[in-house]
């Protein structure tokens, strides 16, 4: 009997280090190797920067959910080309915000040659997802500069977090073109016309963009590709672009020139 107990104890100690011990699907317990991935990738982006890169290209993907095979396929294709600088994933990296879904995603993006920035989506806020995102990727609201362009990553999820409004105050101050940037480009998961926003929020979103002279805003969530100006009759000329989900095996190439931004759909 004693031998049996020691045997079981040894097995217990051995396996407690590996993944087979799972305490809860909702757990907020991120490995040290997986924390602050956005910050890690931002450092890689800053290292890329040189003064004569303008114009440059970035890749947009969105709504990867749990389509890991499609994501893997696209990563293989992206690793083949070298003419872009980094990738932005505009939200919804999980289906139910479970820890394992986050882990699978973070394992896959490690195979990318280029840095990737991950925006938070509404599905990522389900159950304890927001807390896992905070641990794994850091603060969901942040800005970074690259080649005299300012990129704004904005968390506009309100339902998962039981908020009434997104942090518009932060959004407004961040969008301010304070250093003569060529472009200020916001990325957020949910487009303003979505049902999650009240009419006031929708109008505020558009007003803030227009007030800061923003021309382009990029979103995911709708799962289809559209470039339009829905508020042209009401206020401003902001061009809203939503991109397709990864299941359609497409990615989008954004060419940022000195005074123009072009978007191109790439089918695999």
């Amino acid at each position: 009997m004693k031998k049996l107990f020691t045997f079981i104890l040894i097995i217990l100690l051995h396996i407690s280090c590996s993944d087979i011990i799972e305490y809860s699907p909702y757990q907020v317990k991120v490995n040290q190797s997986q924390i602050y991935l956005n910050q890690e990738n931002l450092i890689r982006i800053q290292n890329l920067e040189s003064t004569d890169l303008n114009p440059f290209k970035i890749v947009l993907i969105s709504d990867t959910h749990t389509e890991y095979d499609d994501l893997n396929h696209i990563i293989i294709e992206l690793n083949k080309r070298d003419d872009y600088d980094f990738i932005i994933n505009i939200g919804d990296i999980t289906e139910s915000g479970l820890y394992k879904e986050y882990k699978w995603y973070s394992d896959i993006i490690k195979t990318l040659n280029k840095p990737i920035i991950t925006v938070i989506g509404n599905h990522d806020c389900r159950s304890n997802g927001k807390y896992i995102y905070d641990e794994m990727f850091g603060n969901p609201n942040f800005t970074f500069e690259y080649n005299n362009c300012k990129f704004i990553i904005f968390n506009d999820i309100i339902w998962g977090e039981d908020l009434e409004n997104p942090d518009f105050e932060w959004f407004n101050t961040s969008l301010h073109n304070d250093k003569q940037f060529n472009h200020v480009i916001p990325f957020s998961h949910i487009p303003p016309w979505d049902g999650q926003f009240s009419y006031a929020n929708e109008m505020t979103f558009n007003y803030i963009l227009d007030n800061n002279n923003i021309t382009y805003s990029f979103h995911g969530h709708d799962h289809h590709f559209s470039v339009r100006q829905p508020y042209k009759d009401i206020l401003g000329n902001v061009v809203y672009t939503t991109i397709e989900n990864i299941k359609k095996r497409t990615y989008f190439l954004l060419t940022i020139e000195k005074d123009n931004i072009k978007i191109e759909k790439v089918n695999i």
Binding site: I8, Q27, S96, R126, S127
Partner: protein, 219 residues
């Protein structure tokens, strides 16, 4: 921390309940399976109380918390139902947000016990648990501000498992702790199984989790 104390108290209560009764022979026979009493040479059949559980369990891991405790009933020779309460928080398991899980575990003994020696035997098991997870943003029906069927519910999960147990029979007189079992279960979760079927990337080893526990049988 308060929740943890409650769980520990519950666990201790469950472990001592039958032992304390067994001091009294009348009550002891009242609780045992032979429910007949001989009083003044008359046979009195007393229905067995079902409220007092047949077994208690303490479990480590298994997707229902770092530690979980519970009680259950043996229905027939093959089927056992166990009600478990599990906890994971910063101290137990290291999750930043605390998670309380209740689980109804349905275990089936697959075959007759394989005898190892007089007291020891091995029994393969299989079954399915239904787990309720209580933490932030879990719900059965969506909060009112969502449109209908915007999300699928994320509170209840079905968790099938296979496993085995090593049973050690205690043949001690006047004691109702009749057996101690060490068990292990390799389980998964419905959400993971769906991903495993849909994706080549997610392998079987990615979705499995191991639970180890001890159960004490009174019978």
């Amino acid at each position: 921390m308060r929740l943890f104390k409650i769980i520990i108290c519950l666990c201790i209560c469950l472990l001592i309940n039958k032992q304390s009764y067994s001091q009294n022979k009348v009550i002891a026979s009242y609780l045992s399976k032979s429910d007949t009493l001989l009083i003044n040479s008359e046979k009195i059949v007393i229905p067995r109380r079902v409220i007092i559980p047949d077994h208690n369990r303490l479990q480590f891991a298994g997707a229902i918390g770092c530690i979980s405790a519970g009680f259950g009933y043996n229905i027939g020779k093959r089927y056992e139902i166990t009600f478990m309460l599990g906890l994971e928080n910063d101290f137990f398991g290291g999750s930043k947000e605390s998670i309380v899980t209740t689980s109804i575990k349905n275990t089936f003994n697959l075959f007759h016990p394989f005898k190892i020696n007089n007291n020891l035997s091995f029994i393969p098991t299989a079954g399915i648990s239904i787990n309720w997870g209580f933490t932030n943003n879990t719900f059965n029906s969506l909060p009112s501000h969502y449109p209908d069927s915007y999300y699928f519910q994320n509170k209840i999960h079905a968790a099938p498992f296979i496993g085995g147990k090593i049973r050690y029979d205690l043949n001690i007189k006047n004691c109702y702790k009749r057996a101690i079992e060490l068990y292990f279960e390799l389980g998964s979760l419905d959400a993971y199984i769906i991903e495993c079927v849909r994706n080549d990337y997610v392998g079987i080893n990615d979705i499995m989790n191991l639970a180890i526990g001890i159960s004490i049988y009174f019978e």
